[in-house]
Amino acid sequence: MGRAVDGWLLASVMRTPARAADLEAAGWTGLIAIARAEQMIGTLAARLQGLAVPAQVARILDDARTSAAQGQIAATWEAEVARRVLSHVGERLILLKGTAFAVAGLRAGLGRSIGDLDILVPKDALARVEAALLDAGWEWVKPDPYDDAYYRTWMHELPPLIHRDRDRMIDVHHTILPPTARITPDPVALLGDAVEIAPGMFALSPLDMLVHAAAHLLADGDLAGGMRNLWDVHCLIEECGTDGLEERARHHGLEREVARAVRLATALYGKEGSVGVVDRIYLFRLTARDEWGRATRPVTRMAFYIRSHWLRMPPGLLARHLWTKWRGGGAGPSSG
């Protein structure tokens, strides 16, 4: 057997769908397992639509497309319900991430799986919005008082709420990075430049969508789901361009993160670009999957997990948080 299979298999087929023609049965099985693990099976299916593939693969991809379409119907309905609730308290519905891409009909939304409903509201409207959502059937999911207090004190979003009838989660953000992070984006600018993408539904401007994607991936998390995030970035660049991006990123204090996200997205999905040594470490982590879709490269994963906490919190708070979580047995990178 030649070179071991990893996330680059998925990246190369996303970049050049015609490459799928070279795949044999084992290659397809690995590709499908990795795409599922990265929650990109619907995106892959959309990308390969119309291409000649083995009959069994065609069936799997067809199911994935149907499933993604149904998921987007449900996500769009969830947004509509939230729009109605927010309109009662005089707030605009500003959609973030997947739901925004889907409602706006952006390429990044094609086949994309959508989990929670992420929205952005002004910080001074948080209490009103929270009360309105609770009134409309959403309930707390974090029963642990430490977690609840942690969210309210240190996070850029309310503790997640789940709807008791529809079993769907909503994340209400008031900015795009935790207040404890060293970088402080400008939420007023995010809100001010939001654009209407459907009647009564808004999204960040395309440039701010890119800034948000980069912030979420590189200044907040441990790179989990990074292949999907960077596909979003790649599609946004292709569709909306990068004019003014550098300036906008600098305004939010995220010029390094945005530049890196652009380089990483290009390395994975775009035309040949130049990546440095540090970028290669990121790519090593981002593509850490084997042909069973298993998470590989545990040392690198752990390093990025620790880094995510380092970025998110000052050292004293981090120590306290990890201590509390360790005693509760909850901390540690997700395995997959």
Binding site: A25, Q56, R59, D290, W292, T296, G336
Partner: protein
């Protein structure tokens, strides 16, 4: 059916078995040989996935490297997983594999509407037996398969939303507790898997489906009736109203909500066109009699 060893360096999946059950291909990888050997015996007569490409992957792995050897405990992984699933002892590896396959279907299957049900067929017409765990679906389906019916499914009925047909998914029948002795008394030893004692579901033993079930597993059938068996009551048969059937079937489906409108349309069509009966039975012979009577009256 295909077994083999796949190596990709340090983190190898040591033992692999691929199999197709009805329309669905599975690839099962394991850190241990024993569960794969059990699968090879139980599914000896089954083909490999179409084109060698499995619909779903299942992995049986040790929670920590040393747990491959010390008090080996089998974790269930795969394309779709439930967080915090408890591991099983290695002696129950076959059960772990079966649970892994069930999980992929329950969480990942979108081609068919899934009903937690057993299905038997005669003359191209299918009877769907559904109900809560312990209602006796598996034992009843196994017995019917020994009385001239074709076994189509023991765990999941696969309803095609496009055609309304039920597709066969004849996995090994998971006999539980009292059902084990009932069936073991009627079949030769070679038709049975290993006895799995003290599992989370009690004593389990798998019945290997007969050659007809495997040979005809690519033949779908037209659903003809829905039965709701309940074991442990005096003999009674009553018709069930469509409204109740609808509610019961939504509860019996693992992907009704995920299918959206397709799920609703499929279920509505079944509920409005198929007769449904609740069958209370004190013992299996009575149940067989009731099923035959219901069938004759269709």
């Amino acid at each position: 059916m295909r077994a083999g060893v796949l190596r990709t360096g340090a983190l190898s999946v040591r033992h692999v078995f691929s199999v197709r059950v009805g329309p669905v291909g599975f690839r099962i990888g394991s850190d241990w040989r024993a569960p794969i050997a059990a699968l090879e015996r139980v599914y000896a007569a089954y083909p490999a996935p179409h084109g060698g490409i499995a619909d779903f992957s299942v992995r049986l792995f040790a929670a920590r490297p040393w747990r491959r050897f010390v008090r080996p405990a089998v974790m269930i992984g795969g394309d779709y997983v439930l967080p915090e699933a408890a591991p099983l002892p290695l002696a129950q590896g076959l059960l772990a594999a079966e649970m892994g396959m069930n999980l992929q279907m329950a969480l990942g299957q979108r081609h068919y509407l899934l009903l937690h049900a057993a299905v038997v067929e005669r003359e191209g017409q299918a009877m769907i037996l559904t109900g809560a765990s312990g209602a006796g679906k598996s034992t009843l389906a196994a017995l019917l398969s020994l009385r001239g019916w074709r076994l189509m499914a023991d765990e999941f009925a696969l309803i095609d939303p496009r055609t309304g047909l039920v597709h066969a998914f004849p996995r090994a029948v998971s006999l539980k507790n009292a059902g084990v002795a009932t069936i073991a008394a009627e079949v030769p030893e070679r038709r049975l898997g290993p006895l799995l004692a003290h599992t989370p579901k009690g004593t389990i033993r798998h019945l290997i489906p007969d050659t007809t079930a495997v040979a005809k597993m690519d033949c779908p059938a037209r659903p003809a009736a829905i039965l709701f068996p309940s074991f442990g009551y005096a003999r009674a048969t009553r018709a069930v109203l469509p409204s109740e059937v609808f509610v019961r079937l939504t509860q019996a489906s693992t992907n009704y909500v995920a299918l959206g409108e397709r799920g609703f349309d499929t279920l509505t069509r079944m509920v409005t066109t198929l007769p449904a009966f609740a069958i209370d039975y004190p013992d299996t012979n009575t149940a067989i009699d009731q099923v035959e009577a219901a069938w004759a009256a269709l």
